[in-house]
């Protein structure tokens, strides 16, 4: 079996002490920041990215991946104990998780989230390992026209499945694509939109974009809200283990959440957030067994299923990135940036040219999930302590990490001016109700899209119909159009709005 020899190679890489250490560091940092409300995984990864510059590429990616799924675990802890989602993907967990905590069942809720996530993470990792090679084969058949169409599908998918206004989300993508084009054009050597500023000829750094728009934007908007009375349910975490009855309800929910999350994670624009929402909606549709607590009042299924789903989705969203080189969501867009910094061009060739990196990363995901169960269940007390630190101590620290992160990217003060400007822009986006995630996706894909469009049209001598006449490319575009039509249908439209508004 190829799968086993590949995984063996991967575990060989991941089990070296140095990589184990980085996985652990990533998981701890991820949980740490996941537990802190108000700073999302995108800002977290952007913030900590510079810390990985000096590491070898495998270790750097292992650590970043650890941060990502660590944030997923950490986010559920705050959701359950404080009724504040640490991450957007834990929003639905607050509904039943917090109710369980109020009834003194915080322990079982945390255990359901942790164990469900671990199971889902393991399954997600296996799916990733099994499906990556055949998809990579497919990717080698792609020409520039197919890549261009795939990116269109990916970008459309990203906005269709996201919340909020469709039109504005598409506009944000286009804005992102344009910002991605700033800097020297690779073909002609012309410095575009650089206003004769030498630093801008290299393009806008994506760490500055992510940090300014996500990091500072989020901090400022948090500070502008009055400090909420956080009711911390810490004293009540005792008896971690769910009862036999709990397990009976939990198990099918975990399985359903995992299946749904794995599928949705692969889709463009999918990933953890959508998976969690969909899983909760599905659970609510399934009839309550006699003696079960209704949803919204502390049903354990309402915790187990979305938490499994978001973790499965977090794993499988690596599939499009690692096989096609196309990030399906903003976090994966950051991973593209991270790989580029380490001189790895994401795409199908990674698996053949860097098998240690590819399989090492996959194997480390499973190890990371295992570490997280240990970090989050027996050591839960440590994180709870952290939650009692007032925000006025936390946010200067976050601002500091952002600033160090920005500065250490290039050791150039210009980036500091840039990030201040982008921070203002990020806050403006929040005020105007413009979701920034699609912008980041567009920003990463901008140069790739231009390059593929240019090549496709060069090969076809300027004939645009090539995108429709090549069967694979035509099919991808048709799928994109179909997606748009489906979302614009009035009946689906109202459902979509409903799906993202949970009481």
């Amino acid at each position: 079996m190829d799968l086993f020899s590949n995984l063996a190679l991967g575990f060989g890489v991941a089990f070296t002490p140095i990589n184990l250490m980085y996985a652990l560091v990533g998981c701890i940092l991820g949980t740490l920041i996941g537990v802190l409300p108000g700073i999302g995984p995108v800002a977290t990864i952007a913030m900590l990215l510079p810390a990985t510059y000096a590491l070898p590429p495998v270790s750097a990616l292992i650590m970043l991946a650890g941060i990502y799924y660590g944030a997923q675990y950490g986010g559920s802890t705050t959701a359950i104990l404080v009724n504040l989602p640490g991450e957007a993907s834990s929003v639905v967990t607050t509904i039943d998780g917090y109710q369980m905590a109020r009834k003194g069942r915080a322990g079982p809720a945390l255990a359901a989230a942790g164990l469900g996530s671990f199971f889902a993470g393991s399954v997600g990792t296996l799916i990733l390992a099994a499906f990556a090679p055949p998809l990579t084969e497919l990717a080698f058949k792609f020409g520039p026209a197919e890549y261009f169409s795939l990116m269109i599908l990916g970008l459309i998918g990203a906005v269709v499945l996201a919340s909020g206004s469709l039109l504005k989300a598409i506009a944000m993508i286009v804005l992102g694509l344009l910002l991605g084009l700033v800097g020297t054009d690779v073909n002609s050597g012309v410095a575009r939109f650089s206003f004769d500023i030498p630093e801008l000829t290299d393009g806008i750094g994506f760490v500055t974009v992510a940090m300014g728009i996500f990091g500072y934007g989020e901090i400022i908007s948090n500070l502008s809200k009055p400090e909420e009375d956080r009711e911390l349910l810490t004293g009540k975490v005792e008896g971690l283990f769910p009862t036999k009855e709990d397990f009976k309800h939990m198990l099918p929910a975990v399985l359903r959440g995992t299946a749904l999350g794995s599928v949705l994670g692969v889709l463009p624009g999918g990933g953890a957030l959508l998976a969690a929402f969909a899983a909760y909606t599905l659970e609510k549709k399934i009839k309550l067994k006699p003696g079960e607590v209704p949803f919204g009042q502390g049903n354990i299924r309402g915790v187990a299923s979305p938490e499994s789903a978001n973790n499965a989705g977090a794993q499988t969203s690596f599939i499009p990135l690692l096989t096609l080189g196309i990030p399906p969501n903003a976090v994966m867009a950051l991973m593209v940036g991270a790989m580029t910094i380490h001189n790895i061009q994401p795409g199908p060739q990674v698996m053949t040219s860097n098998p240690e990196l590819f399989w090492g990363l996959i194997a480390s995901m499973w190890i990371g999930n295992l570490m997280l169960v240990i970090l989050n269940l027996p050591l839960i007390g440590m994180w709870i302590k952290l939650l009692s630190v007032p925000y006025r101590f936390l946010f200067p620290a976050i601002v500091l990490f952002c600033a160090i992160g920005v500065y250490s990217t290039n050791n150039n003060t210009f980036d500091i001016w840039m990030v201040a400007g982008l921070g203002f822009v990020g806050y403006l986006f929040l005020k105007l109700g413009c979701e920034p995630a699609p912008l980041l996706l567009g920003f990463i894909l901008g140069p790739m899209m231009e390059e593929n469009l240019r090549r496709a049209l060069l090969l076809s001598r300027g004939d645009w119909s090539v995108f429709l006449t090549r069967p694979l490319s035509g099919g991808l575009l048709a799928a994109a159009v179909l997606l748009l039509i489906i979302v614009l249908l009035p009946s689906i439209r109202s459902k979509r709005e409903e799906a993202f508004v949970e009481e």
Binding site: A54, S165, L167, K168, I170, A171, V174, L175, L177, L178, L181, D185, N187, S188, V190, R192, F193, Y216, I219, I220, S221, L223, S224, P226, E227, Y391, R392, F393, F395, P396, A397, V399, L400, C402, A403, I404, V406, Y407, N411, T413, I416, W417, V419, A420, G423, F424, Y427, L428, K431, L432, G433, C434, M449, E450, R454, L457, L458, S460, G462, D463
Partner: protein, 161 residues
């Protein structure tokens, strides 16, 4: 009559920025589909963005919303202090030759950042802020300088020479 203030202004923003990019792209050679110049793709996208913005603005005038989707007041205080803290950090850390300011190093920059950023919060207690700055300085020194070996000045140049 504006029915959604947020959409109205974001539409305007998209249109202006899109038009700006499209006009700017005109300065570079545009070329044809088969031989795309550096201006081709940005011009195309700029026009698309401007049109999208126009649609957003249009809908904000016709589509009814419950509360008018007000943009609301800007939180200038946190905005100014958080961004100001970041600027102070950058200037102190690396120095600013254009105004003759030497590099003051990481520790001074952390103190400035912590003090300025803390002003953005609801309460400001000097003792706590200084304590926090001390903890952050020590932590950053260990994490970033000793462990991660980031290249940055730690102390002011006039002390280290």
């Amino acid at each position: 009559m504006i029915k959604s203030q947020k959409d109205f202004y974001s539409g305007l923003m998209f249109t202006l920025v899109g038009a700006g990019f499209a006009l700017g792209a005109g300065n570079y050679s545009v070329g044809t589909g088969a031989r795309m110049g550096p201006g081709y793709f940005p011009m195309m996208l700029g026009i698309v963005l401007a049109v999208l913005g126009a649609f957003v603005t249009f809908y904000s005038l016709v589509e009814h919303t419950e509360d008018g989707d007000k943009v609301g007041a800007f939180a200038w205080r946190p905005l100014g202090y958080v961004l100001g803290a970041n600027l102070a950090f950058g200037v102190l850390l690396g120095g600013l030759p254009s105004i003759g300011l030497p590099a003051m190093g990481l520790i001074a920059a952390i103190f400035a950042l912590t003090i300025i950023a803390s002003k953005a919060g609801d309460s400001f207690v000097w003792k706590d802020v200084i304590l926090l700055a001390l903890v952050l300085s020590a932590g950053s020194y260990v994490a970033f300088i000793l462990l991660l070996k980031l290249q940055m000045p730690v102390w002011p140049t006039f002390i280290t020479g």
